[in-house]
Amino acid sequence: MTTLAKGRGTFDRGIHPPDRKHFAADAPIEVLPTPKEVRIPLLQHLGAPCQATVKPRTEVALGDVIGDTDAFVSAPVHASVSGAAGRLSVATLPNGRHVAVVPVKAAEEQPLAGQALFDDIFGGEWPTDGLDEYEPQQIVEAVRRAGLVGLGGAAFPTHVKLTPNESKPIDTLLINGCECEPYLTADYALMLEAPAPIITGALLAQRATGAQDVVICLEDNKPKAARALRKAAQGTAIRVSTLKTKYPQGGEKQLTVAVLGKEVPTGGLPLDIGAVVLNVGTAAALARAVVRGKPLTHRIVTVSGAGIREPKNLLVPIGAAYQDLADACGGLTPDAARAVAGGPGMGFALGSLEVPVTKGTSGLTILAHEEVRKAEETTCVRCGRCVDVCPLNLVPTKIALAARAGNLDVARQYHIAACMECGCCAYVCPAGIPLVQLIRLGKVMLQKAGGS
């Protein structure tokens, strides 16, 4: 039964790019053949980096802790294959950061591979009763031990999100299955093939946060997934809510407006309006962490686009190289023009495929020449289309052109710090102005000038 909470089922403005899910939507989840080596970044989450806890040339087993820290806003990292740890080296992540990585050379024999690995992670029984026997504190600790971070892309340490704050009680838990980025179908495939752990994880998160309501939200271009979730949620009080398909419905600010009818305060968190938002993948991993005591070592990544020969949804070990994913999908086509880590709306373009997959990686989108944005730029004619689509009700042209001119006062006047860089403005601009890039530039200049 579809129920919409106090929201209208959508938010104002936004864009409707073609969703291009057809490339990989029908691809069942395939397990990536174990790569020869994985390189596990010690910083792949928001917060403090981990310190390596294994020495080089030590044998590690799948699931062993190989990096940890005492900082509160952080999460440990685990070996995603069994094998020999190597010496620390450095990798450049898609967002430009240089991070330390622990390489692990995969052993010939892996304890779990192929279908067995999939079944171990997602298969089996997932209880929906008797979860009250877990204490909230127990859940939070298990989540931290498992190295769980937000799999929707922000990679915020989940145990911090679930730690109760007495001055800010939680009314609603929103489980985010919207996946609004074009091409990506990782969350969709998970909802279709393994809805049970999502439900268990949602119930456990509810237990930890004390939320009254739990709503699983997804866009209405995923009717099969909605049905699968409703079936799995039978007997529980979890509601499944379908929202109008629009980019960026999956953003948490847009989600709370669409479902709850409430706005997250600028600079604040959903916590401030009594909500917690968790990605469906995070919920599934949460169930595994609490009920089975297993850490986060693998995640589903969509490899899609017209520039890849065989689009697929792959279950990959953290730290595998993007090149391994591309190889498993038949490789790039000759007219591939851009490789994006994530989706084409907010993802980072890759200069090399020898970059490790992190916990926040949801996709590898290889765009062909005809799909990619053209770079010609002409003058702004102040048509106002960017204003008409900005989901946060900003005036992108003013902010961007002020940033280009170095005029930080005007940029501040037009609320530059509120921008979430979703890309709606640049998508519609008839003059092809790189609005998001200019706004980012403005934010950097503001930071250097000491304040926002």
């Binding site: 938010f11 864009i15 790019p17 450049t92 430009g96 600010k253 706005e263 997250v264 305060p265 600028t266 600079g267 604040g268 190889d327 490789g331 790039l332 086509t333 000759p334 591939a336 023009a337 851009r338 490789a339 994006v340 084409p344 709306g345 980072f348 373009a349 890759l350 200069g351 090399s352 020898e354 989108t365 799909e371 990619v372 944005r373 053209k374 770079a375 003058t379 004619v381 102040r382 048509c383 106002g384 204003v387 989901p391 946060l392 009700n393 005036v395 042209t397 501040r412 609320h415 530059i416 509120a418 890309g423 640049a426 998508y427 519609v428 008839p430 092809g432 790189p434 998001v436 926002s452």
Partner: protein, 357 residues
């Protein structure tokens, strides 16, 4: 966060599956764009929307319409080419904005304006109205209206009310004064308390007939006469989102209300509806005021801009020496646009950015 250069990698063996290495480039997000809507497409939409008005102009004013509009378009293109060459910039005629300026300026002239009015007006429109500010996107005032106002003031006789009338013409419509001229004369007579001249009353009766006003069988500048053609084009433009509907909505709304009040107060013999379909209000509201460069960028700002244009049009019609005031109304509101932009900064979702202590 600045994008780093791609890290240098040692030569990796190319797998057999890929015959030729594709050329992968790096650029900032978003990596997609809506290619169906470009600036040139917007200009093309304006020209398409003006087609009914141009067709009606040619139908009613025959050869005169062709000459005026053609001369204006050619001069605008030539002027833009010349000034661009003087600034040593690449030619930008392909973006269509000079053609649009030419058509709008041409349609705003009377059928009888001499050739030098069209040429000087176009040169002023492009040169003073646009190029002096830096080209497309940089001007403050609507270029076509700058050109129109320039020739209005320089060649007052050629563009005054009497220029529209030619009693011995084979064209029926041009034997009568324009409806707004008649209304102004009559309003003046009523205000002065003098008796209404017989044939002025007759002219008023014929001017009052709404249907000819609507379809366009009346005298006026080339493009303003057919309200029907302008509405069809204007609505097309708004539906295509090449013009913002908030501007005509505000302009027509304000004009309707103000003209209605004026009619009720006896200040004008025309009703609000006459004021809407007579004169160049529709032409101005849909095609002139909606120029994106010179109007506000926020929805509320656009609406207030429209309201201002509508108010000024009616005020100029009632209280100034001119029977029609669209060009000045638009130019006045163009001057107020930066203020409107600042006054209508929208509230971000979630509130403004909190002050850091």
């Amino acid at each position: 966060m600045a994008q780093d250069e791609a890290p240098k990698q040692p030569e990796a063996p190319v797998p057999d599956a890929i015959p030729a290495a594709p050329a992968i480039a790096v650029a900032p997000a978003p990596h997609l764009s809506d290619v169906s809507f470009t600036t040139r497409r917007m200009m093309l939409d304006v020209l398409i929307a003006l087609a009914p008005a141009v067709a009606m102009a040619i139908f009613i004013f025959r050869w005169y319409a062709v000459v005026q509009v053609g001369l204006c378009v050619l001069t605008c293109l030539a002027a833009e080419a010349l000034f661009t060459w003087m600034r040593r910039r690449p030619l930008s005629l392909g973006d269509g904005s000079a053609v649009v300026t030419g058509v709008i300026l041409g349609l705003s002239l009377p059928w009888s304006a001499p050739w030098y009015v069209a040429v000087i007006g176009s040169a002023a429109a492009i040169g003073l109205g646009k190029m002096v500010f830096g080209g497309l996107g940089c001007n403050i005032f609507n270029p076509a209206m700058v050109g129109r106002a320039f020739v209005m003031l320089s060649f007052a006789k050629a563009l005054g009310a009497s220029a529209y009338v030619f009693a011995q013409s084979g064209l029926d419509v041009v034997t009568q004064a324009t409806p707004l001229t008649v209304a102004k004369k009559l309003a003046g007579e009523i205000a002065a308390g003098t008796a209404v001249a017989g044939d002025l009353q007759l002219q008023l009766e014929s001017a009052r007939a709404l249907w000819p006003l609507f379809v366009g069988q009346v005298n006026g500048s080339l493009g303003e006469t057919s309200a029907l053609a302008l509405l069809v084009g204007g609505i097309y433009l708004c539906l295509r989102r090449s013009a913002s509907w908030e501007i005509p909505a505000g302009a027509l709304g304000a004009a309707f209300v103000l003209a209605g009040l004026a009619n009720w107060a006896g200040l004008t013999p025309f009703t609000a509806l006459h004021h809407l379909v007579g004169g160049s209000l529709l032409f101005g509201a849909f095609f002139i005021a909606t120029d994106p460069v010179t109007s506000p960028v926020t929805p509320r700002g656009k609406f207030f801009f429209g309201l201002g244009v509508g108010c000024f049009v009616v005020l100029i019609r009632l209280f100034s020496g001119y029977p029609e005031g669209v060009m000045f109304a638009v130019l006045l509101m163009n001057a107020v646009t930066p203020l409107l932009n600042r006054w209508t900064i929208p509230r971000p979702v979630g509130g403004p950015v909190p002050e850091r202590t």
